[in-house]
Subunit: 433 residues, 2 copies
């Protein structure tokens, strides 16, 4: 396994001439995430977030400021070609961007290509070929399993198989696009037959997203020692879920209409290079758990395969926003509550020869902490709707109401390095149509 190494671009003393980048919670010069944006009234193009600004990479390429490989990828309106670049090319781009934004002598050449982020529209960063969602949050799996199967919360395959299933790519939207409350079948426990109507148990799910970079040929697995080289970046993912539909439809073939009506991602792709300082050892498996099978086992993955990232969820009701109240934090917990690393899910996915492609998106599944303050869904926080939570507005919630807005946030941190953030993954619930 080759993980990205820290270098001069991670130097905590490095500062940008872009004022708002200094101390920025998400986008200091040590981050440099890639995305696709439109300046007001203009066409979508590739950019880099720096503080409260976005640097237009297509304009930089035209001005001859970028290395050749990055220049040719910068002409697109999606990051797919960027994601497919070999690691050397991506690393060269990061080094150049870091210099351009730190070096005062380059300011006059670069500054004309900056846009205020607040005046731009952010888009999906890539054409997503296939989207797969995993289930690596073991505390989530336990909490949910206990509600569906009290005697048998964790199925026998869980500690051997990184459980995953295919999701819907077409309905993934960037942060900010509201979702429509879905209509569908649910079967009340006491009823003889299902009823059709808007979901009454609409929930969010806190997940990390993993962008695939270089792909593999159909029929050719990705060894665990090479999995990191197939990852192009990370984002936040809210896998909105209609729990009432899910309970009725999910057997025997898994979730379908309970999930595929809308998924929200944060639009910035935090690169593996930016994450180099924030790799950590996998927490040891609990005593008695089996070791990962050979194809999922790797010393480097064990010692550096986990992510030092803190995840947070905020809720803001319509009433709270009208009253000018801040969003209310529902949970906070570490991403290391994943039973499988992102490398392990990449390798497992391709282990039967399934071909991954640049721009594919993998979700980790809901990441919950072992304790309530870090539960990653309302299903868990309210014990399946039985224990409402209180909002600072005096309202209570079991599941989401129309007008509620959910925001996910993530921060990567490590001793001696400047923290970087993932930006917002945010959307509000519109009434059913």
């Amino acid at each position: 396994m080759t993980f990205w190494q820290t270098d001069a671009t991670h130097d905590p003393a490095l500062a940008s001439w872009v004022e708002s980048a200094k101390g920025h919670r998400d986008f200091p010069i040590q981050n440099l995430p890639l995305g696709v944006f439109s300046p007001a009234g203009e066409t979508p193009r590739i950019g880099v977030a720096i503080g409260d600004m976005i640097l237009d990479l297509s304009a930089c390429a035209k001005a001859g400021l970028l290395p050749d490989a990055a220049s040719s990828a910068a002409g697109s309106d999606s990051l797919n070609a960027f994601m497919a670049l070999p690691e050397g090319d991506r690393k060269a781009l990061r080094a150049i961007l870091s210099q351009m934004l730190a070096d005062n002598d380059q300011r006059s050449a670069v500054e004309p290509h900056l846009h205020r982020a607040g005046t731009c529209t952010l888009h999906l960063p890539a054409r997503i070929g296939d989207y797969t969602d995993f289930y690596v949050g073991i505390h989530h799996a336990n909490n949910v399993g206990r509600q569906f199967r009290p005697d048998n919360p964790l199925l026998p395959n869980y500690k051997y198989v990184p459980i995953g299933y295919h999701g819907r790519a077409s309905s993934i939207r960037a942060s900010g696009v509201p979702l429509v409350r879905p209509t569908g079948q649910r079967k009340p426990p006491e009823a003889d037959a299902p009823v059709v109507g808007p979901s009454v148990r609409l929930d969010y799910e806190l997940e990390l997203g993993v962008w695939i970079g270089q792909g593999n040929e159909l029929g050719t697995p990705i060894p665990i020692s090479e999995a990191a080289n197939h990852i192009a970046g990370f984002c936040l993912l809210n896998d909105w879920s209609a729990r009432d539909f899910q309970a009725w439809e999910y057997q025997p073939l898994g979730p379908f209409l309970a999930k595929n009506f809308h998924s929200t991602i944060s639009p910035w792709v935090v690169t593996p290079e930016a994450m180099a300082p924030f790799r950590m050892a996998q927490p040891p498996r609990p005593e008695g758990d089996p070791a990962p099978l050979g194809y999922l086992s790797d010393d480097e993955d064990r010692s550096h395969g986990a992510l030092a990232v803190t995840l947070e969820v905020f809720l803001s009701s319509a009433k709270m926003r009208e009253a000018g109240m801040e969003p209310f934090r529902l949970s906070r917990g570490p991403a290391s509550n994943m039973y499988w690393t992102v490398q392990q899910i990449v390798t497992h996915h391709a282990s039967n020869g399934c071909n991954l492609q640049a721009g594919d998106l993998l979700g980790t599944g809901t990441i919950s902490a072992p304790t309530r303050d870090g539960f990653g869904s309302l299903l868990e926080l309210t014990s399946g709707g039985k224990e409402p939570i209180s909002l600072p507005s005096g309202e209570t919630r079991t599941f989401l109401e129309d007008g509620d807005e959910v925001t996910l946030r993530a921060t990567a941190h490590a001793e001696g390095y400047v923290s970087i953030g993932f930006g917002e993954c945010r959307a509000a619930v519109l009434p059913a149509r």
Copy 2:
């Protein structure tokens, strides 16, 4: 519901000047399916199958032989733009093609654009955005359910919910591309832990594929009365399945690596217009079954929503091919063994607002007849591997061996009309890597 009406293009007396089209099992002039092909050494382009020939539509467009809307869609190397055409444009194209290939006066202008199919390579007909597989073969669901859950073969949701799940788009290949036997986890019943190795229970599944035409906006369902207008065509689909992986991994989120290593489709898109004569009434639901819920219920769907298509599966072992033996027919049965119509699965899929797009592919799920001669998988034919079947070569099979080649075929037929076929859906099994 508006179904295509028969017209002069379905006239059984209509004959083409392409000699091989007369009496052709699949591609008489009454069919005219669309596909993407490459003449030897040339680039992929759109074509129409006619007898043993393929008409190059991009060349016809350049020669000014096609209507405007079809001409602009014909310049692509995929059918996505064609599939998205409004029904009027597609109908106009069919009428022109039928005339061009029937009228002797047009022969000299059209004939230069014909290629021998045997010298061409056939490709996937569209860029598949999302692939969804359903489970509408109720006899298959019963047969398989009995093996997994003897006391409870059909789950309580089956007669209310057209059960479906998302599949993998990237690993779908056109007929003729061999598949590599997948490697993965399976848990022998007597073992304490799973083992990793090549699948020992590799199976095929006989399905119809449904191509989506015009899409719907995210958040906006497709009423059952309009579902037929969102269908751009039909094909055959072999949903290769590793039964040993499936049994171990499928709970709680459904099949994943058991299915996504390879799927094979027939490369010709049989249009809804071509299928106009082959619509039939839905067989009545068994006494005591619930009526479809309101959003899935439509008089026109009941009276014309099913497909008069006969499905067949053939197996040819390496030994049989060496001995010059014909492929052996494993099963034969009608597509009317679907509990839900293709219109119902389209409407159900979009009922929560999920957006379908031109070029999406829906599989029906395995279509089995009630009796063994029409079972659509080896899992059913061999009762889960317990009752081997005999091949004319003296070999026996429980599941597929390396070198086995499976071919699916479909024929649509109706009194007073010329039968049309779907072409081959064929692939051979290569050893695990």
